[in-house]
Amino acid sequence: MERRRFLLALALGAAGRSAMAAVDFAPVLPGRRLVFPADHGAHPDFRTEWWYATGWLNLPDGSPLGFQTTFFRVRTGVGEDSPSAFAPRQLILAHAAIADPRLGRLRHGERSARVGFGRAGFALGQTGVWVGDWRFALDGGRYRAEVHADDFAYALELQPAGPPLLNGQGGFSAKAADPRHASYYYSRPQLAVSGSVTLDGKQQPVRGKAWLDHEWSSELLPEGAKGWDWVGLNLDDGSALMAFRLRDGHGRALWAAATWQLAGGGARVMRPAEIAFTPGREWRSPRTAITYPVEWRLRVGEREFELRPLLDDQELDSRRSTGSVYWEGAVRVVEGGRELGRGYLEMTGYGERIRVG
């Protein structure tokens, strides 16, 4: 999804651009058929790529948690011909978070390293990416996420319910009218989660539902985009919805897209005009003083959902590593006053601090 690349664009900044000018990144072209399992693996010729898992978990006592596991792969364009084994050709950056209503904010951690020396790496032909002792891999038809942060850890197995959900035109996801701004993008909704979470030194079994995005591309965001809003929602009836929009500096939508996974199988790709994000209640971060709309009305075609956060404070401050601040949190999906499902909402570009790459 474009949003995550935005993070990296911010992060890589000048180094990326100046050095990248000389490097040929693989282009994202319409009409290329995604082939599995080959496309589950990494695509190191492209500039950026990520595996992004989010979802809801239930502790044995029934109380809910949100979780996020993100692995980025970045081809920097630097040191392509360098003989040094330390050359920062490919970087792996990982974020992980647990949304815990009892704590009232996120626990999060991050890892980053250049690929090499066993410190970090990725697999081709199958999902497999790791940095230190953090890893995310597809093994025997199940994804496995392992994270060890300072104040939490988890090891989760994510079991897909069906084939990948291709976004856009068969996985070609446009970000603007200009076809250069596009990515290859597929999702794995309705992942059945089981595993364990360790909080405050106490390990507990968990079960839940999750969502996985895998996306790769080489081009930056279209001009004028300041941020985006994204949702990945697992509905209780077995259907699922991915929707995003890009905003300009005034909060107006520049582009929007959505994909329905239908309950009985099959998918429906929505046109930009069929999608409307309407912000609702706002929450102001005491740490960064950034104001986020934490409740939303989302209209997709005929349907209109309300999004309500598991907790307000799901802001993730990663200024120390990737340099960005964003809101990534668990939300409930409500329609007509009834909870239909659960998912994740991501909002970026709401802070003055964010520099657009």
């Binding site: 992060a11 890589l12 900044g13 000048a14 180094a15 990326g16 100046s18 050095a19 920097t76 630097v78 040191g79 360098s82 003989p83 040094s84 084994a85 330390f86 050359a87 920062p88 970087l91 980053s112 390293a113 250049r114 020396f117 066993g118 410190r119 230190g132 120390r320 590593s321 990737t322 340099g323 520099r355």
Partner: protein
Amino acid sequence: MEWRRLAPVFLGSLARRRLATLFSLVAIVLGVALGMAVQAVHEAALSEFDRGLRNMAGAADLQVVGPRGGFDEQLYARLATHPDVAEASPVLEVEARLVGRDESLQVLGVDAFVLARVTPQLLPSAAGGDRFAIFAGDGVFLSHAAADRLGVKTGALLHVQAGSAELALKVAGDLPAAGDGRRLAVMDIAAAQILFGKLGRLTRIDLRLREGVDAGAARHSLQAELPDGVLVETPAAEADQAANLSRAYRVNLTLLAAIALLTGGFLVFSAQALSVVRRRREFAFLRAVGLSRRTLFGWLVGEGAAVGLLGGVLGVAVGHGLAWGALALLGGDLGAGYFAGLAPRLQFQPLASAIYVLLGAVAGVAGAWLPAREAATVAPAQALKAGDEAALHGGRGHPLFGLALLAGGLVACAIPPVDGLPLGGYLAVACVLAGAVLLLPSIAALLARLLPGGGPVSARLAVARLAAAPGHAVVAAAGVLTSVALAAAMAIMVASFRDSVDQWLTQLLPADLYLRAGRAQSGSYLDEALQARIAATPGVGTVAFTRHDGLRLAAGQAPVALLARPVSADGDGLPLVGRAVAADGPAVWISEAMQDLYGWQPGRQVELPLAGKPVRLTVAGVWRDYARQTGAVMIDLDSYRRLTGDPLVNDAAIHLAPGADALRTAHALTALAGPGVLEVAFPGEIRAITLRIFDRTFAVTYLLEAVAVAIGLAGVAASFAALAAARRKEFGMLRHLGLTRRQIGWMLAQEGALAAGVGVLAGLLAGGAIGLVLIEVVNRQSFHWSMDLHVPWLSLLLFGGGLVALAALAAVLAGRQAMRQDAVLAVREDW
């Protein structure tokens, strides 16, 4: 309060003899100030060094270090994935020579990703907040100290030397958390490896252990995985090594300051002793009218304490001023070169300052103690009647005790160094000084007996006085003795050192020209192609190349320098100490420090970690090395290349072809690489520079010597001023008897000369002994080098003679006041 009530009785007296009080005060101020300055400067430098190291080590629990040339980067892969290790931060450290400056910059190649979790203090910050600019290859990030020193801003180009080529690095930002004290630059490790020709090499790995892993146990298990010559150290080890390295130098300087303080104590002693003699009847009267013995003693010691305390306070203030000046002018190592690349800041240290104030007070109290005790034990009935208050019974001293101390000093010389410090040597110095002071009366008596009794009346009177009342002379001479002993000892030591260094340089620099690619420890080198071009340069006859590296032989020990250069089997051309031993197989030539620190001896088989493998070598001989006090080993260049496969060298010694012009050849050699990259020097030049550095190092020593001598002279002047005032009646009587004023002047001059002469003579003897202790014990144990004794006879003779003449002059000047008094009046006057 009895103390307050009686203050005018005693302090009034102190104020009345202003000159003597002032001299005592000045001596204590100087002693305290010098000690304080040395302490403050070194504390500033050390704490800055320590802070720098702590920044560098950050949260690392352990550090893996190896030879200066580095070790294989594959070690990093092994350590980074080791189960005990939470984070491993690879570092490639290079001393990059700055083109066009006689300076180098510490450049650290790092992985910025790991820094955040191990050494966040080194995290770079790019201009404009570009967080990943560090990957942009040629970008360097400078600490504020480095940016200030080099005068470059972000965006500018920094020209450094790598190998024998010049590199232009872009200053991409700063190191906001690195502190202001340390000059260093950070860049991406991959770029550093490529730019400085260190592909596949690392010089250090900082490790953070997993929680719950014991550092000691981990150190053990990690060490087992490492090749020879690569060690796991605690981060504190390097700071300890630096502190140890400079400690001996620091303690030496502090000792000199202590001697200045001691001289101050002697001055207080002589001033108080004379004052007590003068005030004998005053004290007798006070005792008669009911002043208790204790109170009298307390007040007299209090007089000394007051002078000492004031001297201490002023001394601490002056010391901080001196330290500030010294830091600005000479740097944190007072010019000795231990803390290059640091910009220490002076900080007030309450504890050390308090100690130095206290030391001043102690010197005052100690000086006043004996005179006060003597005054308090005086029987008032006799003293009330005593005619001549100027009678000072110096007695015969304590010759046996003095001799015992001298013998004790001899024994102390045999004490091995304690924790790297030559404490036995210092003890011996103290014994010799104290013994000499105790023997002083005997020496004075001996001198008086040896001097001819005849001659002009003034001379006869002066000698008679020395024979009859040696006390006066002894009191004046004690200060002279201390300062002369110090000055002579330092002069002998420095002269021996300088002479030995000079000879050493001559032996070490036999060639016509020397060529180097930057400093020995820098990232500069001469590659094979350049070596060939050097050898082929017109005018060049034969070339001897040298490779420099540093080896880690034992955990906790500083690196040992490795020099690989052509060495003949018998060590010909090396400044050998003792004889060479024939070695079968490859030979290694070790410096004296290796003997002291590692116990290596000629003929023994030793193991050196070369290229990660243990190599057995035979110690073929010991050579003298004044350049590396942590030890150096030398092996033949061919052997080194065979054992390591390292084809690079750092410098070349060039013998000219017959008839070749040195200057023209030098130009041709310089032109082999870019401007400023290769340095060609003539041996004379190198010698001159080395000796200049040597002299700068000892500049502080000369200053201390001058101060000590000034203090000693002040002591003579002060004691004679005090005496002359007390002897006004004697002068009046002599005038009555028909002596001219000139004759009395002569008498005083000769008395002064005799007193100083006694002090100078004893001081020279003691100084010679102390000089030997400094050479044979203190230097050998502190710095691990020997030197040949070289006594600067002429200088010492001139110095001693000058001092005697100055003392005579001081005595005359001090006596003038008294001689001017009307003679008749002086006799009539009751006091």
